[in-house]
Amino acid sequence: MSKSPSQNAPSLSELPDDELINYGQDLGLDLEHGTPRGELLRLIRQRQELLLELDRDALLDIVVWGRCPVRKSASKEALARHISRIQSSRFGELGEPGLQALARLRGISTGANEPRANIETRLKKADGWRGKIRRVRRSLMGQLITKVVDHKDDAEYKFLPEAEGTSLRETIETEGVVGGIARKLRGVADDYVKDKLDEIELRIDRKLDEIDQRLGEWRDREVANRLKMLKLTLLFSILVALISLGYDYALRSDDGKSGPANSTKVIQPVELDDPGQLSG
C-alpha cells in the first residue's frame, strides 16, 4: 500500500502548510511554523530522497536498537517516523550501518571512513546542552526507580506480527478459488480502509488541536483587549477625579477667602460721653 516518493509528489504539493509541517516532522525534520512553502517542499523532498538512498536493513537496525514496535515489512517512511521519536543515546549497541544512517537522518554528514567514536560524539553534540541535561536527569531517575522496582527487560526484540494471516494458497485450499480470492481481496480492502480511517482520525485530531490553539490565541487577544479597555477607563477616571479634586481645592480656597475670617466686621470701640448712658 505504501507509495513511493515519486507517487507522493503531486499530492505533497497539494497539502496545506500545516499538514506539510506535520508530515515533515513525522519524517524527523525540524520544521517550524512560518517556514516558506517552497522551503518546506524542498526539505521534505530532500528527506524522501535520503530515505530512498538509505539501506532498509540499516533503518531496521535502528528500529531494533530503539526497540520500536514495527512490522518487519514496514515502509521506509514508517520506519523513519519511529526513528524520529527515538531519544536514546546509547549508541554502543547500534551497528555500524545503523549508526551511519541515524547520523544522516539527524542531518550529520559522515565520511565513509569516519571513526565510530567521532560519529557518536557528533550525534551527542547535535542534541545540545538541553538534550544532555535531559539525558542525565532521566538516567538518574532511571537508576533511582530501578533500585526501588527491580525490573529486568533483557528480552530479545521481536517485530510485530505481519498483518497477513494465511497465504493465498492456503485460503484457496480451504475456501475454493472464488471464495479464497474474494476473502483475500476483502482483507486487503479492509486493511486499506483501516489505514485510511486511521489517517483521517489523525487529521481530525490535528485539526481539533489547531482549532483549540486558535481559540486559545483568540481568548488571549480578547483578555488583552479587555485589560487595555480597563486601563483606559481607569486613566480617564483618575483624570476626572483629579479635576474634581482641583474643583474641591478651588472651592476650599474660595471659602477661605470669603469665609468667616474676612467677613467678620471689626467692632470699633465707642467712646461714651456719659458713663450713665450704659446703665440707662
Binding site: 481568548r219 485589560l227 474641591d248 472651592l251
Partner: protein, 91 residues
C-alpha cells in the same frame, strides 16, 4: 457658588447614574448566565464547559505586566479619591 454648586450636583448625579447602570448590567449578566446554563442543551452545556476550561487555562503570567499596570492605576485612583476627603471644602 453658595447654594448653586453645579459641579457638585453633576458629580453626585453621575455617581448615582453610573452605580444604577452598573447594578443593572451586573444583574442582567447574572440573569443571562443563569438562564442560559439552566436551559442549555447538551451541545450548549458542552460549549459552556469548554469555555470555562478555556478561561481556566488562561496563563496569568502572560498578562502580568498589564495586571500590574491596572493595580498601580487602581492604587492611584484610590489615593486621589481619598484626597477628596482631606481637601473637601469647609461647609
Amino acid at each position: 457658588m453658595n447654594g448653586q454648586d453645579l459641579f457638585g450636583l453633576y458629580r453626585t448625579l453621575l455617581t448615582l447614574v453610573l452605580c444604577v447602570y452598573l447594578c443593572i448590567r451586573a444583574f442582567n449578566f447574572a440573569d443571562q448566565l443563569l438562564s442560559s446554563t439552566a436551559s442549555a442543551g447538551r451541545r450548549q452545556a458542552m460549549a459552556f464547559q469548554y469555555l470555562l476550561v478555556q478561561l481556566l487555562r488562561i496563563r496569568i503570567r502572560r498578562f502580568a505586566w498589564d495586571l500590574l499596570q491596572v493595580a498601580v492605576l487602581l492604587v492611584a485612583f484610590a489615593y486621589v479619591l481619598s484626597l477628596h476627603w482631606s481637601w473637601a471644602p469647609v461647609r
